[in-house]
Assembly symmetry: none
Homo-oligomer: 242 residues x 2
Amino acid sequence: MLKRIRIVLVNTFHPGNIGSAARAMKVMGLTHLYLVAPQSFPDAEASAMAAGAEDILTQAIVVSTLEEAIGDCQHVVATSARPRSHQAPAMTPAECATFVSKQSEQDEIAIVFGRERSGLTSDEYALCNRHVFIPANPDYSILNMAAAVQIICYELYQRSLTEFYPVTQSEALPDAKEMSYFFDNMSVQLEQSGYFNGKPKAATLGKLRAYFQRNPPNISELGLLHGIMRRLTPQSKKVDKV
Amino acid sequence: MLKRIRIVLVNTFHPGNIGSAARAMKVMGLTHLYLVAPQSFPDAEASAMAAGAEDILTQAIVVSTLEEAIGDCQHVVATSARPRSHQAPAMTPAECATFVSKQSEQDEIAIVFGRERSGLTSDEYALCNRHVFIPANPDYSILNMAAAVQIICYELYQRSLTEFYPVTQSEALPDAKEMSYFFDNMSVQLEQSGYFNGKPKAATLGKLRAYFQRNPPNISELGLLHGIMRRLTPQSKKVDKV
C-alpha cells in the first residue's frame, strides 16, 4: 500500500525539516516526497538532517503549486494539529491509515503538510478532500512538522504490516484535475443561469464544492453531474443538440 | 493515566535530543522526565530544542543510574527499534499503550530509552520487565530517539483520551420524505430540460439517485441542489424571478 502514497510538504521554511521529514518517511517505508515551493532546496541542512535518507531527497519532486503536486491523486488528505474541520471530515491518524490502506490498492493518495507556522491556506485546504488531525495536548499542541510526518507515517506503516485488503474493484474516481475542471465549469454554468441571483456567490459555491469534495462521485457519476450543469445554459443546450 | 508515567532517557549523548524528547512528551501530555547520566545537562541546545517545553526540562530529575530512575516503578518498559526480545515480552507501541492504560491507575510506570547509538546494556535490559519495539522499515530502521519518544507518547496520549472530541456539530440531514421529494423534482426537471435525450432514462436517474443516496447532503446543501434543478427549466426560472 505504501507505494501509492506521497507526502507533500507545502512551502517549508526550514530546509532541516525537509531532511527530518525524509528520514521520518524512510524509517516507515515511504519513499515519494513532493515539495511545493520550498524556501531552500536542495540544501546542505536538509541533507544533514536526512541522515541516511538522502535518496528520498534526491528523488523528491519539486513543484511550484499544490495543484501540481496532487493533480493525479484521487485522495488528498490535509493534515492539521487542530481539529479544524473545513469541509473535509477529520480522521485520526489511525483512521487515516485505515482509509488509505483501503484506497491505495487502486488510487493515488497525497498527504499534505502545511507551512511550519501557518499551515495551509484556505485555497489549499479547498484542494483537499480529506482531513486528518493528530489529537494532542490542548495546552501545547505545537507538534513540529517532522514529528507530525513521523506519526502519520508510523500509522501507515503499522497498517501496511498488519492488514491485507483484497482489491475491491469499485469504480474509478476522478483525479484532482478532473474535479477542479468540474468545479470551474459548475461555477460558470451556475453564474450564467442566474443561480446566484440574491445569493452570496462565493459562499454558495464553497458549500456546493464542499459537498462534492466530501462525497467524490465516481467517473461515470461525474459525467452525469457535468451533463446537468451543461443543461443549465441555453448555449450549451444548443451545442448539445447538434 | 499520563500522570503516573515517566520517560527515562539513559546516557543521552546529544543534549539536543533531550530537548526534542521533552517537546515530544509535552505535546502528548506527558510531564515526568528522568535523565540517567546525561552527557551534558542542563545545556543550551537542550533548551533550544525544547521550544516551549522548557518546563519539562526544569522539572527533569537527573540521576546517575537506571536503578535510581525506576526504583519506585511497578512496570519498567524498555524500548528498542528492533524486535529484540531479551527476557521481556515485546509489545507494539499500541499494545504498550493498552498495557500502560490498564496499569497506570494504581502503578508507577517507566518507559526507558537507551543511548542514541548503542541502546541499553544487558544489565539495564535486565532491570526492565516489559519491552516495546517500534516496527519500522527493515532496510532503514534508524529511528532517532526523539522520533521514538514521539511515537510512544503519541500512542499513550491517544489511549488516554477518554472520549474522542467531536470535530463539528454536523448539520442535520433531511429525512427520507425530503429526499424523496428532491428525487421526484430532479426527475421532472431533468426530463423537461432534455437531459435524458439519448440516455436511458431509468438507468441514468437510478445512478444519480444512487450517488445522492450514498452521499446524503445536509439540509442546507439539499436546498442548494434543489435550486440547481429548478434552474434547469425556463418555467421555474420565471417563477423564481417573480
